[in-house]
């Protein structure tokens, strides 16, 4: 009895020690810092029927911190109607990852919001909608008014389980996946 108990105890101990959790990763061979998903590039592809395409880009190839991002100035003509397409890229990947395609797939939990400042005299209208007919914003229409200057802020909200299933969406919900600002001139 005594030997049996002692034997089972020692075997249990050895089994316990052998079952210790182990780290199979190796510190001297770290994971590539660029492996995680990042949005490095936000482009507004704006065009008017019959005219060349204008692309305005916010570009921060090294992500948060480090080198400051390069942001284009948006210049549009007064009293015109444009179509606007958003393209989001992760250029740290090879080949480049087109984040906007993934957003298109997950449009039920994403929405873009456009905030032109008062002086810009421009307005946005959503063109694309998700499965519940709530706007997404990858496609939109820009209508410009009189000449003016100001800024345009574009926000992408990630709203898993929170995005409304009717109406025009709610910017207050969820968390911000992207928020970029452009200087705008309407001339």
């Amino acid at each position: 009895m005594k030997k049996f108990i002692l034997f089972s105890f020692i075997s249990a101990l050895i089994m316990l020690l052998l079952s210790c959790k182990k780290n199979h990763d190796n510190a001297p061979t770290p994971q590539d810092q660029n492996e995680t998903e990042l949005i490095t590039t936000v482009s507004l592809i704006i065009k008017e029927n019959g005219t060349p395409v204008n692309t305005f880009t916010f570009n921060d190839p090294d992500g948060a911190g480090g080198v400051n991002p390069i942001v284009d100035q948006i210049t549009l003509e007064a009293n015109k109607t444009y179509t606007c397409t958003l393209r989001l890229l992760d250029e740290t990947k090879n080949p480049t990852d087109t984040t906007s395609l993934e957003i298109e797939e997950e449009k039920d939990v994403h929405q873009f919001f456009f905030h032109p400042s008062a002086g810009t005299n421009m307005s946005f209208a959503y063109v694309d909608y998700d499965d519940h007919h709530v706007p997404v914003g990858l496609q939109s229409t820009i209508t410009t008014g009189a000449a003016g200057t100001g800024t345009l802020r574009v926000v992408l909200k990630h709203q898993p389980g929170l995005k409304p299933t009717s109406g025009n969406g709610d910017e207050a919900l969820g968390e911000t996946d992207m928020e970029v600002s452009f200087d705008v001139t309407i001339q």
């Binding site: 005594k2 105890f9 770290p30 916010f58």
Partner: protein, 771 residues
Amino acid sequence: MHRFLYLFVVCMLHVSTVAWAQKTAGCSFEIDGTLLDLSTGEPLEGASVYLQEQNLQALCDEDGNFIFHNLCKGSYTLSFFHVGSLKKDTIIALEQRKTKINISVQQDASHQEELIVTGERHDTLTPHASHASLTGINLDLAKSTSLGEGLKSLPGVYAQQSGVNTYKPVIQGLSGNRILIFNNGVRQEGQQWGTDHAPEIDPLVADEIQVIKGAESVRYGSDALGGVILIKPAPLIDRGLKTEVYLSGTSVNRGGTASAKMDWAPSFIRNFSTRIQGSIKQGGNYKTPRYYLNNTGIREYNFSVAARKEFRRLSIDFYYSQFNTETGIFAGSHIGNLTDVKRALETDEPLTPQSFSYDIGRPYQHIEHELAKGELSYRLGKGQRLSVEVTRQYNYRAEYDSHRAASAAPGLEFKITTHTATLNWKHRISSRIKGDVGVNGLYQENTVAGRIFIPNFINNTIGVYWLEKLKWNRWNWEAGIRYDVRNLKAYFNKSGVIADSSYQYHNYSASLGGSYAITDHQQWNLLLSRAFRSPAVNELFSHGLHHGVAAIENGNAQLIPEVAYNVSTSYCIEKPNLRVELNLYANYIENYIYLHPSQELELTVYGAFPSFQYSQTNALLLGGDLSLRYDLLKKIQLTCKISSLSGEDLNNGSPLIYMPPTRIEPSVSYLFKNTGLLHEPTLSITSTLMFKKENAPTDGDYSPPPNGYALLGLQASTKVKAGQTWITTGLKVNNMLNTVYRDYLDRFRYYHDAPGIGVQLFVKIPLTLID
């Protein structure tokens, strides 16, 4: 050896002048004794003393001392056990708190007993500047919450919170990398640098949680600039089979905890003891006075095994424990950028609808911590002992966020494995002088996956220490010195190119402490110490956006170690109806590492963020803790705890951020009469007055410190006789008036109120299956 074993048992009863431990409401009689071997005059270290009526057990320390707290007037039976099968019973009448009795027992092989009772006083003083413990009912109540939350009730201890589930202890204004936690003697190593990384320890393993305030680096290792927390499990039993079941419920999150412990010392294996313990915990969304907090559920399961085998001179100890948790993080706190923080600040209530649920969704943390320890201890002779301790810890932390890229994998994953080895020689130069000399080493490997915030690293340290204690009349002195060397190598991978950088830090720590027994009831302590802490990995290399706090943190590879110079003094009175402990301290920290806010916002694709750079300054922390207890008519007990401190950045002439505000905690207890069925029934009304933090820096904080608040609570406890055993039960009502408040040290005060009224209830059922 001797065919006949003669033993001299000295048992002295007097009011403790040693343990300035915080007491639970209840009786305050104590048994404080010393056990000596008659033939050698040596203290019987490791002998156990069992208090039958209370089912309490104490272990004699290196001086043969043992103590039982919080007893009531009455008659008690003490049993002594020791290797070499000494077993002695003696009955003690505890009638005065100040009764001083010596009991000498002579025993021979035929087990004939002789009992001699004389009166004598014995002093055992440890020159610690200040310490406080969580024991008894207060510990039992704390076991249904988390470690950091429970410790908040001690004077001088606060908690840095990230919401309702994440509490990091703050000792005299310092936390995180600057305090050390020892779980069953093992230095806890995980990702303790993170403000939202709570200690991975189950409070249910503890029989006592002790907080040592002040820079205690010599004994416990470098980095302990603020203090040390010791999680102490109960000693293993020497005979029989005992179980204990603990059940508790908390209404504020509809949570429950269940734990069971079994102690067994089989009679057919000599000097072998073992324990197995496990616990499960589950809680749902917390309720504040006005709304629920979505996704604040928690699930936890933990277990531990311990075993001890003693031979004539050698003892072998083994301990293994596992901690596993899944902790929900309030969904409204995982914000994307500064605009989101501002929106949360502008709204009084969370924007998303809040309801009760046990579900844990993203964002949440999954944490596993595993600890294994083996110890060999060999008694060389008179007061001499050589011990070797080897430990391994594995900590796994996965953080699942709700960002766009969220796949099934965690957004951030840390795995850290730590091995330590310690060799200690406990020696005794004379009956007055004894000490410890030792060396300890640590080897640590960390890997990170996902959004890289800190790099992979390999860290190793080695430290040598030497401590001596001197007892002389009413004085007790302790002096110690320590030297540590640390090597750190970090590894980086940028687009497939692997680089590394190496750092070496070395420095010494020293301490000198003295305590003086002014009278039998008064003691004065002074502790002077120097300690250092080398920069942690996050301070050197963290890089990027910290989504939880909406800030960009940049490490600084040029940092040099912090050096703390600490002066701490305390004065204590311990009388039958009065206890006072006043502790004053000054902690000057050279090259204090902190996050310096830069003036410009940094632009990212997520918007603009404030950015912070790890910088160094000289800091001075000044403060005091006061603890008072006064007994009125032997029925009513008034207590009050006051903690206050200020932290100053001396180079910039500005206050330090996140220093705890002044706190006052008055309470009144009524002690009912014992009956045949109830033992120590007590009812208390407690209160907490937290002042508004004045002069707090505004840089780096998105909202000014919240207003002060006052909370009212109720606590009731008793032991109930059920057959042969006494069941302990306690009830606590927190925030009884359902006050709406936010705490300065809670990072989530931007997003939500603190929890509202909540009832905690616990029962602890001990059962002796084989005596």
